[in-house]
């Protein structure tokens, strides 16, 4: 669908550095990265709204680098909505149809229903709540049936049930053939909607991969930290054992590898915490729960092992009670060698 080659943008204090990316037709492509990484700027560049220092953008083989935005058939939903303040909600949504060959009014009505905008149609955007503005902005972009849809955190201001509904709708139109590139901070969305994901930090593309792969096998420490692989440990590796630098602990890993120093990562949800010694003896450590921090449905339980490893595990809130794990008390942790990722 779209291929970006060697794209660079210079904004003085910020640079986007020769970024290359390929999105397949019909793909639901995610872009994630820390705040200020350059995600929005990348979307703007794809839409043709930012002057490039260098680089080439091709769509279906055609070079569109110098094409004006309106000829790209790419719709962008801005993070801050960018509604037309002088038009009613309805006119905002319908506006793009003026420039489309065969305007599809029926679709507009569908979108209005789906986004529950019926009662707001005559209102001025300035009087809308944040979520309402976001819905209008999304509906406006969808109304023109772009071949490529660029979404910048399009569901961030919506309540969970609405977000779920609209995620489903996005998944549906993506299945129906629309290519979507979406920036989001919600890993749930990345996992449930995305095919592949690009991780950008500080203007540099760090990794492009299948969504699950990025979480399980991040390319480097920055990506690992970003995707929440909280347990990162410097090790000396020898065959299928990793001895933690400076500590006495030995961690079993899945395949034999040549001897070297390496970084090793374990996702907190892959670590099991139990009050009693687990059956498996592989990668099982005794320790003390030093902190329990609630994170919504789960708790971050940090355990200091006897071998002075400090690992964080996720425990479901309900399990915490049933398993009787308390801060300051003894507990066991255990994880599969399969879930140990070596960089």
């Amino acid at each position: 669908m779209i291929e970006i080659q060697d794209l660079s943008i210079n904004l003085g204090t910020f640079q986007l550095n020769s970024l290359s990316l390929k999105v397949e037709p019909g793909e639901f492509f995610m872009v994630v990265g820390p705040s200020g990484a350059g995600k929005t700027i990348l979307l703007e560049a794809i839409a043709g709204l930012r002057p490039l220092v260098q680089g080439k953008i091709t769509v279906a083989g055609r070079d569109i680098t110098d094409l004006p935005p309106e000829k790209r058939n790419v719709a962008l939903v801005y993070q801050d909505y960018a509604l037309f303040p002088h038009m009613s909600v309805l006119h905002n949504i319908e506006w793009g149809l003026n420039f489309v060959d065969k305007p599809d009014k029926k679709r507009v009505n569908e979108l209005i229903g789906l986004f529950r905008l019926e009662s707001l149609l005559a209102r001025s955007p300035e009087t809308l709540s944040g979520g309402e503005q976001q819905r209008v902005s999304l509906a406006r972009a969808l109304a023109v049936k772009p071949t490529l849809l660029l979404l910048d955190e399009p569901l961030s201001a919506l309540d969970p049930s609405f977000r779920e509904e609209l995620s489903d709708y996005l998944a549906e139109i993506n299945k129906a053939g629309m290519t979507i590139i979406m920036v989001t901070h919600d890993f749930g969305e990345v996992l449930s909607l995305g095919n592949r994901v690009a991780v950008i930090t500080d203007g540099t593309l760090q990794q492009t991969d299948d969504v699950r792969t990025v979480f399980k096998e991040p390319a480097n420490r920055r990506v690992a930290e970003f995707v929440g692989m909280k347990n990162l440990i410097e090790c000396d590796i020898c065959s299928n054992r990793a001895s933690v630098v400076d500590y006495s602990a030995i961690i079993e890993i899945k395949d034999g590898r040549p001897e070297r120093k390496a970084l090793l990562g374990i996702r907190p949800e892959d670590i099991l915490v139990s009050k009693t010694c687990p059956l498996s003896k592989l990668n099982t450590f005794r320790g003390k729960a030093v902190s329990l921090i609630p994170r919504g449905m789960v708790f971050d339980v940090t355990v200091q092992t006897e071998s002075r490893l400090r690992l964080t595990a996720n425990v479901l809130s309900s399990d915490l009670v049933s398993k009787n794990i308390r801060a300051g008390e003894e507990c066991w942790i255990n994880f599969d060698p399969e879930s140990v990722h070596i960089f």
Partner: protein
């Protein structure tokens, strides 16, 4: 609620000084006017002719300014470049030039003896003592008012909104006409009013280019010189009434229907 209205009342009180400052002399003019003459001069062909001429020549001049000045204003609002302040200063110069000097400068530029003027004469247009002359003079004095107001209007239009419009399939001109222009509406209306009204009021510069055909200010002057204040005031009063009406319509149109949401904020 009372809090914010207390502040509004204070601001209105401060401002009412200026409103009264404007109204007082105007009311004086109206009170002193001989209303029989106002009524009868409303039927005087010379008076209505001059007022109408003032209105349309200033309107034509404003139209030309708007045609060329709107892109200029947009350019000034959106681009930054070396020498921009200088360009803006040049554009403002006609505001501060004494009107007679402005008239002399325009006259010299367009006199049939000057290159530009002779060109106009060649294509059959007379730049002095003609409607064209009036329009040329009005343009010179009005340009900066239009350009300044509209540029300030465009400053308030978010480039993001324009960009979003582009991605919806609208070309630059389409976005300009359907998004940027309507969003700069307040500035444009102010610019149109100022430019047009400035043209209507111009005497010093216009009279250099064309005493005849007479526009309203010239007629008022002429009446005053010939017949005195008693006969010039009715013309002035009539001109004010007509223009006040036109302002009112323009402001009402531009205000639109923002009433509700504003007072809730």
């Amino acid at each position: 609620m009372h809090r914010s209205s207390r502040e509004s009342i204070f601001m209105l009180l401060m401002g009412s000084f200026l409103v009264i400052y404007i109204l007082w002399p105007l009311v004086g003019l109206f009170v002193r006017a001989d209303w029989d003459l106002v009524v009868s001069s409303a039927r005087d062909r010379e008076v209505t002719g001059a007022i109408w001429r003032s209105i349309w020549t200033a309107a034509v001049s404003t139209g030309i300014i708007a045609f060329f000045g709107t892109p200029l204003a947009y350019f000034l609002a959106r681009k930054d470049f070396r020498g921009k302040a200088f360009l803006e200063a040049i554009i403002d110069v006609p505001i501060m030039i004494p009107h007679t000097v402005a008239g002399i400068a325009v006259l010299m530029a367009f006199s049939p003896k000057a290159p530009l003027g002779s060109l106009l004469v060649k294509i059959g247009l007379s730049p002095v003592n003609s409607h064209l002359g009036i329009i040329l003079a009005c343009m010179f004095v009005s340009i900066p008012f239009y350009v300044d107001a509209v540029r300030d209007g465009f400053y308030g239009v978010s480039p993001r909104v324009e960009k979003a419009a582009r991605t919806l399939g609208a070309s630059f001109p389409q976005v300009f006409f359907r998004i940027s222009l309507p969003l700069a509406r307040k500035g444009i209306v102010s610019g149109l009013i100022m430019s047009w009204a400035r043209g209507v009021s111009e005497f010093g510069a216009v009279v250099m280019m064309a005493y005849h055909p007479m526009v309203a200010p010239t007629l008022i002057y002429d009446r005053f010189a010939t017949f005195g204040l008693k006969y010039s005031t009715p013309v002035a009063v009539q001109l004010i009434i007509v223009c006040l009406g036109m302002f009112l319509v323009l402001r009402l149109v531009s205000a639109g229907k923002r009433r509700e949401d504003m007072n809730n904020d």
